[in-house]
Subunit: 330 residues, 2 copies
């Protein structure tokens, strides 16, 4: 018995900030699973800044569902390894239903945690923050840390890891609401609203002991402000440069302070979460412990219904989301 | 019997390009060495881009001889470890004579090479190029390499190391004479005159296989052009950013292409030659072999007389020197 399903397609490649008309909700019909297949009803879809470059560089095909992390439940199965009722995680993207033969789909054993946590703190964004901070950034206990976009999904985890490691933590965010959340809920030392005053001056005032690790999510003006504050031997793990993604050629505003790379012998390194795959168990051990004992806090910005998917994605770049942005399907 | 000696002092800190009036030749009298001391008559002084930041940041004291690598000969000694006639190397700077108790002075056993080579290919600039390329840059045989300021003291060695390792080597320089030297004498694959045409386009045209290692001496426009050409896992050892040194706050022109740090998972790392100290013997083995068998070529731009010292230093920033700039004393 086939089911009706809606999908979100990219129909036109954005050059600047994506707009809603570049996306389209397409109604399809999903056939029953054949032998060796199963049907997934999706429940949550993840929206993530890393999706943005793929919209322009061709990695995201036109007229196909947007690729994204997704959690769903198996509603019918003719596959030996997946049973009706299994909660599964996959990257098959922005659609209400999907039939799978199991490739790229894993059964989610949430082990006492809400399943959506496996889309952020216990999932790719948490793993990104953990690996970027502890492996690429080589964070040591008690260092001085700056995290840009610290109220975002990755940034908020990165900032808290540093706090848990006894570091002095400065975070930047784009609203007073976010800054209050960072200081009052996440207990980081100083939150800077980069939309108020001069970021360079505010960062200089906050970084009284310099910066040993700058966890870079933004680029442009943020990097320009951070480089002169770096200590000798400082590390800049580069997770993203969201300020550049919506510009032609992904160009940021000009960074003029890179001579500090030499003066302070700084290491700057771009990374992706797959770099850390062999450390996944260690990550899960750490993060489950921190979530369970309340040290690691999180917040979800949940958009209800597949009609909101494009707005949720656009909201990443207009600064409207706090914590992890998710789209919940009915 | 005291000797008359001239010294070059910094008398005013430069804010932009240094000018001759910020330096002064001062006549002094050097007393005979006391017990445990010896007198050095200096023969060659090294001028180096790394001297420039120290003029502004306070590391170089005013009204004192400019600190710089120097080679001289011992002309009188009451020190047990140094004898008249010994050739010595030290950092006591821009002066004709100096009395030393031996601290920071080493006897130079040139071992069949002209002593001045220990001020460039076999000395600090060669060691900088070797360590930056092979240790910080983790160069592998046959990779694709770009070296900026490739006709300079460090750049010309870095480019040749890459060529010796079987790499495809692109170099930039600021005159057709330098480019001809790079292609015809040093046998690198492509030399780009960055003062002609658009560097970004010329580099793109030359880097048909992308860039695995960018040996960075210049910064600004050069880095902006190189980043989009970097291959996945590329390395950017940052030796210097000479384009920035004469600007207020050592700021370069804006670099807008840093989002490639993430896309291509690039590592950029500033270094100084002292990072490599434990590998000095390996460096000397390599480099003496390459110089002896003619694989490593070099060129000296020699300024005659201490009166030329300031001009020699300024010439580093106006692009007038090829290879290693030295001041020869009478």
């Amino acid at each position: 018995m086939a089911v009706a399903s809606r999908e979100v397609h990219l129909i036109e490649r954005p050059e600047g900030l994506p707009v809603a008309t570049q996306f389209q909700i397409v109604e399809t019909t999903i056939d029953d699973p054949a032998e060796g297949e199963f049907l997934i009803r999706n429940q949550y879809m993840s929206v993530d800044p890393a999706m943005r470059p793929r919209l322009s560089n061709g990695q995201q095909p036109l007229h196909k569902p947007l690729g994204a992390g997704t959690i769903g439940v198996v509603t019918a199965s003719r596959h030996s390894a997946f049973a009706e009722g299994d909660v599964v995680q996959h990257g098959l993207g922005f659609r209400e239903y999907v039939v799978s033969d199991g490739r790229g789909v894993s059964r989610l054993d949430a082990a006492g945690f809400p399943p959506t946590l496996y889309m952020h703190v216990l999932g790719p964004t948490g793993f990104t923050a953990w690996g970027g901070m502890l492996i690429t950034g080589e964070l040591k206990d008690g260092e001085n840390v700056f995290v840009s976009a610290a109220a975002g999904a990755v940034g908020s985890v990165a900032a808290q890891i540093a706090r848990i490691k006894g570091c002095y933590v400065i975070g930047s965010a784009g609203s007073s609401e976010k800054c209050e959340w960072l200081e009052n809920e996440l207990s980081i030392d100083v939150a800077i609203n980069y939309k108020e005053g001069v970021l360079r001056k505010n960062l200089k005032a906050a970084a009284t002991q310099g910066i040993d690790v700058y966890f870079e999510n933004v680029g442009g003006e943020h990097l320009d402000a951070a480089l002169p504050r770096m200590n000798v031997g400082g590390r800049i793990p580069v997770c993203g440069m969201i300020s550049a993604y919506n510009n032609f050629g992904a160009r940021s505003t000009g960074v003029t302070t890179l001579s500090n790379m030499v003066y302070q012998r700084i290491t700057m390194r771009g990374f992706v979460v797959t770099d850390f795959e062999e450390k996944r168990e260690k990550f899960l051990d750490d993060m489950r412990g921190w979530v369970a004992d309340g040290q690691m806090k999180y917040r979800e910005t949940v958009f209800e219904g597949i009609e909101q998917a494009a707005d949720a994605l656009i909201g990443l770049f207009t600064g409207e989301n706090i914590g992890k942005a998710l789209v919940k399907l009915d």
